[in-house]
């Protein structure tokens, strides 16, 4: 109840959520091209928001976020026309959560650069396992005929972005979130003052996997075909981390700012001169890491950002 009260009183959050929801009007007002842009934006907001729930809060930088997205896409693609979407999309989230729970115990034993590499390696491992399974049953790709319209998918994705934002916000304001920040600051001290670090890390890691699981399913439907190498592409993980860094993960608006910023860059350059786009992304990443490690959100709204001092 107190959590709900907190949300209703949080004007910044309410305005932010309202603006997310207002993107439902994009298809009608601006046409199908912008509907796809909006869908992409909501996808990245959901992914980045869910990434910050674990990696932003605990400082364990995961480079394997795509694995949950990929597994969700796989669930939806392989159960297409077998299960209704209102079952298969949430099921993608559940399966991603279960996968996170299973790998959490070994993966969360290591810290720092080892964790980064391990999450990356694990995502690649799962990718090749799925690839081999698919090849062995003779399905290098699957076509998904009769998927819902872009508008419908956009509405679902907006819902996911809202849920991801709310989840991250609720966690960051809770006792659980306090514990996660303590872990990020100094895990040994956290443990010393009673924070159940193992339980908390596993819980946060699992929670952060559920949203990408569902997002992956929706995106598989959007592209109307499923190809393993595409939905498990590690570039998706890199992009999420980049968006979180550039946008900032201490403020709910950070992931949105990061996603919007990179999408704008890619709108401007990707289609025409993709090399320039990659160079600019690299440059901005360096500039932000060095000069504004808490991202755009901390520059625009300094007082609210968690790390600003």
């Amino acid at each position: 109840m107190t959590a709900l009260n907190g949300i209703l009183k949080d004007r910044v959050l309410l305005i932010f959520l309202t603006s997310l929801v207002l993107t439902v009007f994009v298809p009608d007002l601006f046409g199908s091209y912008w509907a796809i842009v909006a869908l992409n934006l909501m996808m990245w907001v959901s992914l980045t928001q869910s990434w910050t729930l674990f990696s932003g809060m605990t400082g364990y930088i995961s480079l394997g976020h795509v694995v949950f997205y990929g597994i969700g896409a796989y669930v939806v693609a392989s159960t297409f026309k077998v299960l209704p979407l209102w079952v298969s999309i949430p099921l993608g989230g559940v399966v991603a959560g279960v996968l996170a729970l299973l790998v959490a115990i070994p993966v969360l034993r290591v810290r720092g650069p080892y964790f980064v590499i391990l999450t990356f390696g694990l995502a690649e491992l799962v990718k090749y396992i799925v690839l081999n399974v698919e090849t062995s049953i003779g399905k290098s790709s699957r076509l998904l005929f009769g998927a819902p319209t872009i508008e419908t998918l956009l509405y679902i994705m907006i819902g996911l972005a809202v849920i991801a934002t709310l989840m991250t916000k609720l966690v960051s304001q809770s006792r659980f979130g306090r514990g996660l920040s303590a872990i990020r600051d100094d895990e040994i001290t956290a443990e010393t003052v009673g924070v159940p670090v193992v339980k908390y890390k596993i819980t946060a890691f699992t929670l952060s996997a559920v949203i990408p699981g569902m997002v992956g399913g929706v995106i598989a439907l959007k592209s109307t075909y499923f190809e393993v190498l595409q939905v498990f592409n590690p570039v998706i993980s890199f992009t999420v981390v980049t968006m979180a860094i550039i946008g900032g993960s201490g403020d709910v608006r950070g992931p949105f700012m990061g996603a919007a910023f990179l999408l704008l860059l890619s709108e401007l350059f990707w289609a025409t001169i993709p090399q320039i786009y990659m160079i600019l992304v690299g440059l901005f990443l360096i500039v932000f890491v060095v000069f504004a490690p808490n991202g755009i959100a901390a520059i625009l709204w300094p007082a609210r950002s968690r790390d600003s001092q």
Binding site: G179, A182, D185, E191, T192, V193, G194, V195, P196, Q309
Partner: protein, 243 residues
Amino acid sequence: MNLLEVENIGKNFGGVRALDEVSLMVDKAETLGLMGANGAGKTTLFSVIAGHLKPSNGIIRLKGKTITGYRPDKVCRLGIARTFQIVRPFIGMSVRENVEVAILFGNSGYDSASSLGDRAMDILDDVGLQGLSETFAGKLTLSARKCLEVARALATGPEILLLDEVMAGLTPREVDDMIEIIQRIKLQRRLTIVIVEHVVKALNQLSERVVVLHHGKIIATGSPQEIAQNIDVREAYFGASDT
């Protein structure tokens, strides 16, 4: 029944035997001093009790219950709090937030009857840090950091407080202040304290009983006066026949 029992604890680091069959008992509301030269194993003993290190052998009991091998967070919630010799504050948080985390997660059973901030301020008052409550822990002076270690441990609501050289590096005046703080919180909260200190004066003033560790072994136990006159201890410290 003793509040805390350490029975035949051994700890090896590779070839180094940091603790060798250490046994000791701590009574309720007692203050036990732990002394010994550098590398004697004092910090290692704290780490074993608090769950940061698993002993190679031996048993730790709290109120008769075996707690050997429990994780630190569980040990903390059972009422044993430690400070770190090399201070470890949450540097990204303010002094008050450091203490709040300890209140929220410790043994004190936070019930939101009084506000978290108020409770944190009460504890900061007790250690004389109230004026620095909004300062970031990373920006504190050494003596303030040492006080914060004590405050954070205290905020977990412990029955037993393990203090590891909280006076090291302090000026004589600051040492006096710290002694007074420890005496006060001990009385207020009926705390049981195990204190490691190289400042002999502090150890003598605070402890009812002193245990001396040497190369991981207990070589003497007694009142501060007895220890001061103990010939083995002198040898261990001043190396008359150091092995």
